[in-house]
Symmetry: C2
Subunit: 200 residues, 2 copies
Amino acid sequence: MRSYCYAVRMPRVVDHAERRRQIVFALWLVIAEQGIEGVSLRHVAAEAGVSMGRIQHYFGTKEALVLAGCTALVDSAYGGYLETADAAPRDRLLHVVSQQIPQDDGGRIGVSVWYAYVAKSINHTAVRQVLAEARRGAEEECVRLIRAGRGAGADAEDPAALDQARRLLALADGLTLRVLVGDLEPDEAVAMLEAEVDRI
Amino acid sequence: MRSYCYAVRMPRVVDHAERRRQIVFALWLVIAEQGIEGVSLRHVAAEAGVSMGRIQHYFGTKEALVLAGCTALVDSAYGGYLETADAAPRDRLLHVVSQQIPQDDGGRIGVSVWYAYVAKSINHTAVRQVLAEARRGAEEECVRLIRAGRGAGADAEDPAALDQARRLLALADGLTLRVLVGDLEPDEAVAMLEAEVDRI
DNA sequence: GGTTTTGCAATACGATCGCATCGTAACAGG
DNA sequence: CCTGTTACGATGCGATCGTATTGCAAAACC
């Protein structure tokens, strides 16, 4: 029971986190292909090539699995942002608002899953909280980047920057949707966001 | 079989359209409360206070019911727009882009149902086509209103107006979402849209 | 008033669902 | 080798699903 070694302490040693990642990825694929309505333990298990029992073992209930898929999605986006740590504020700002525009198939999957969760968040408290926190974080980060870009110090409040951040993020959401349903080309959407960023 | 009279030609006369309206309204309520996942013929029947058989009689399948709910939603929004026929172009433009911001409970229901359909449109061709056509219509109308507002004639193309229309509509979608999940007050969203309209 | 057609309620059916349970293979520590 | 614990695969259960089917009441038409 007591663990003297650092990483491995269990019998039948497996990489717990890796197993969870595989299952969550299969969940995303199912959501992207069939929508959140199409999510069932059996479908996800088939997509991942594992048994239903495995999913139950790692996530317990369907509810928990779906929620884990949501937090994993948010974490993944945040990880992508952290990689831009040494870029200029203007470029980082552009990354935050245009990162979700689907440029390839992988991006399409991610953003269609994201929209599925957005719709779910309307009637699902836990999902709503996860997305709300992510959104607050993105908004604050945008405000910081806007202020850094114009060379302002860390002030208490900045209504103008907040307003611009909100407009930028809302615009990004709306444009993302257009691209997703095929009404708009990714290039056009990014160009519009770039113009908006440079107007600040 | 042959119908000599104009309106009524059937035995057991009922208002077919009215019955469909009642069922579709119950469908919207179910979607708003439980999301599209929660839609089942039994739930909708219970919400409408009718039997499942009635729904089958009027819509045939669940698929057809859901799609009818989508077109009815679009038609309803279009009807609201037509009522502004004698307003100034600037006010009509503001109506188009801010009409979906939920101001009361009725508005919340409508827009949460609308977002449910948006998510569904990602994986559902028929819904996507209905929404795409509505969006194209809104975009064209915005272009017309923008050009009318600045006193321009009916010209062939106007890239600047198209760009502004797209930005306005995308911004409206994004702001609507924020209001829906409670991140933003309706007043603030409308104020931002108004500022954007007046900047044109 | 009988016939025909429509409007629906009731129900039955097979598929699928989430989840609980059970059994067991694999491995760490003694 | 033995024991305990973990990691599952397999299976079963009750609920719920969409839809097909059946049957009957009410109204229009002859």
